[in-house]
Amino acid sequence: MSAPAEVRRPTRAEVEDLLFEEAELLDAWDLDTWLTLYTEDAHYVIPATDAPDGDPTTDLVLVDDDRLRMRLRVDRLNSRKAHREYPHSACRHLVTNVRVGEPVDGEIPVRASFIVWRSRNGKESTWVGGYTYRLVAVAGELRIRSKRVELDMSSLRPANDVAIIL
């Protein structure tokens, strides 16, 4: 872990480069490369739609992946047996309204807004919400230690699932 005091606050353009790269990799279904943007101790969390402040240690959430489960989720989505996403859908992750905060304990807090479109089998789904990231600098490169996806949706209808990575 890098020493807290020495972390420089990156520019918004630097952060956007990382988030846009992530979006591009997800849209391209290059999930193995996508994982390399994350630290070894990373977390990926999506709270329930009716408890967006949900804490995965006490509340039921939609997704609560540590790095191992992120790896296994990628393995699943890479397989031909993830029926909901085989064949893969066409996806477009739009990331916007990026705000970079002051580093805290060596981590850079970032907020952004997103829309994700999925088109598959004649059906369109949309997810809308906010991302909260905590980034760290690893060997001079920005990496993601935590991504939390809060949905601005009163339910998962009509998207019906979160089978893709948001």
Binding site: A51, T58, R69, D75
Partner: protein
């Protein structure tokens, strides 16, 4: 119920036309899955006459706590009476001129004020305030203008049900054999059960009865959920135990599968994915069950899984986690699903964490399995539109003592559906 009672009277026998049972053959006509006319008959004959799940008492623990729900397609709300402490379930409509009275999904309130003309009702449904009451003269019966309770409301061990038919049999009689299974599941908790905060609100573009079948379908597990089993293997689980067990018709359309499976159970069955650190704690839970219930019942509680349907649309699955799920059609090809996780109250934080984790691996719209169930059911619904094939086949296991990967439990549902849909 309605003044415009214009339902045609020749609807008798619909069930027997669509569900045909012969020796070693059980068929369901696909009109039951795609026809809007059948769906409106289902509302009139099934959802308006059977006990339907509203929610769990733990969701409204304190006086004045309320939750808003759609039950049987109707907006209702359930509130714990401030004076009585009773669980009240009201039609969510103002007795003045109709507006929805409870407009938040959950909360706590002493009174519910209709925003339209500001009539106010208390948590027992009594009309407590009317602006400019003097405009009404002196003889209007205000008692009669309280919130309308659903015709019947009863709860069994915290599960609150309601029925729109005042003449329905009592809840315990209705639950029939499902009662003992609910007891088994609830008794396994060291304290009372509660609903965990955070709800799965999702949907499927599929007929609601496909989710009935899927929720109690052992046959599809290996083929549909290949990626979930691979996940278990990656975490060190031995799959050789397989999915083995029996199916039981519990009466009144209810049914259950009871079986062994390779996954761990937070109740008291350790598997490698829980981690070595968790072993002593899970062994302790298991010893506690043996002490309280003896070896045989403790074995059922700890090791065996149960997928239970309570007719028509409640599923209580006691598998790698305990989930309570209900669903309602909004169209022949679409349903809305609400699912919760249930857990013992005041559980140790590490045990709760394990339970939450175990739920997410398989269940829920972001899990490793549920999305593929959604895909399977939507795929069936799309397949029905192809035509050419008129019947679904549900004969599996008719010629033997029903096993967990047979279809006897689905036949139990369909026979009751046939009976209800045969009514005039």
């Amino acid at each position: 119920m309605t003044l415009l009672n214009d339902r045609p009277t020749d609807l008798a026998g619909t069930g027997s036309r669509l569900v045909v049972e012969e020796t070693e053959s059980f068929r369901v006509h696909r009109d039951s899955m795609v026809s809007p006319a059948i769906l409106s008959e289902e509302h009139a004959k099934i959802f308006d006459h059977n006990w339907l799940y509203v929610g769990h008492e733990s969701e409204i623990a304190q006086p004045g706590d309320y939750v808003r729900r759609r039950v049987g397609g109707r907006p209702l709300f359930m509130v714990r009476g401030v004076k009585s402490g009773d669980v009240n379930v009201f039609h969510n409509s103002c007795t003045h001129r109709g507006a929805v009275v409870c407009r938040q999904d959950q909360g706590n309130a002493k009174v519910f004020q209709c925003f339209y003309h500001a009539w106010t009702f208390d948590s027992e449904g009594k009309l407590a305030g009317v602006p400019d009451r003097e405009a009404y003269g002196g003889t209007l019966d205000w008692e009669r203008l309280g919130l309308k309770s659903v015709a019947r409301v009863e709860s069994y061990r915290g599960f609150v049900f309601c029925c729109f038919d005042p003449d329905v049999v009592g809840l315990v009689e209705y639950l029939a054999g499902a009662k003992d299974y609910l007891d088994l599941i609830i008794d396994a908790a060291p304290a009372d059960m509660e609903i965990v905060r955070g709800t799965n609100h999702y949907g499927m573009d599929a007929n609601w009865k496909l989710l009935v079948e899927n929720s109690i379908d052992g046959y599809h597990a290996v083929s549909t959920h290949d990626t979930y089993f691979k996940y278990l293997v990656a975490l060190g689980t031995d799959l050789s135990v397989g999915v083995k067990g029996t199916a039981h018709d519990l009466g009144n359309g209810h049914a259950v599968l009871e079986y062994e499976a390779p996954w761990g159970r937070p109740v008291a069955k350790w598997e490698p994915l829980f981690g070595d650190d968790a072993k002593p704690s899970i062994d302790g839970l298991r010893a506690g069950l043996v002490e309280r219930f003896g070896e045989e019942r403790a074995h059922r509680m700890a090791d065996l899984n149960r997928n239970m349907l309570i007719y028509p649309n409640l599923v209580v699955n006691d598998i790698m986690a305990l989930t309570v799920r209900t669903f309602m059609p909004t169209a022949p090809g679409h349903m809305e699903i609400t699912a919760w996780e249930m857990a013992p109250r005041e559980e140790q934080p590490d045990v709760r964490q394990r339970r939450l984790d175990s739920f997410l691996t398989f269940l829920g719209p972001g899990g490793f399995a549920t999305p593929d169930d959604i895909e399977a059911l939507e795929s069936c619904q799309q397949g029905f539109t192809s035509g050419g094939v008129e019947w679904n086949d549900i004969s599996r296991g008719m010629a033997r003592e029903p096993q967990a990967n047979d279809e006897a439990q689905m036949r139990a549902f369909w026979r009751r559906w046939r009976h209800d849909m045969d009514q005039p």
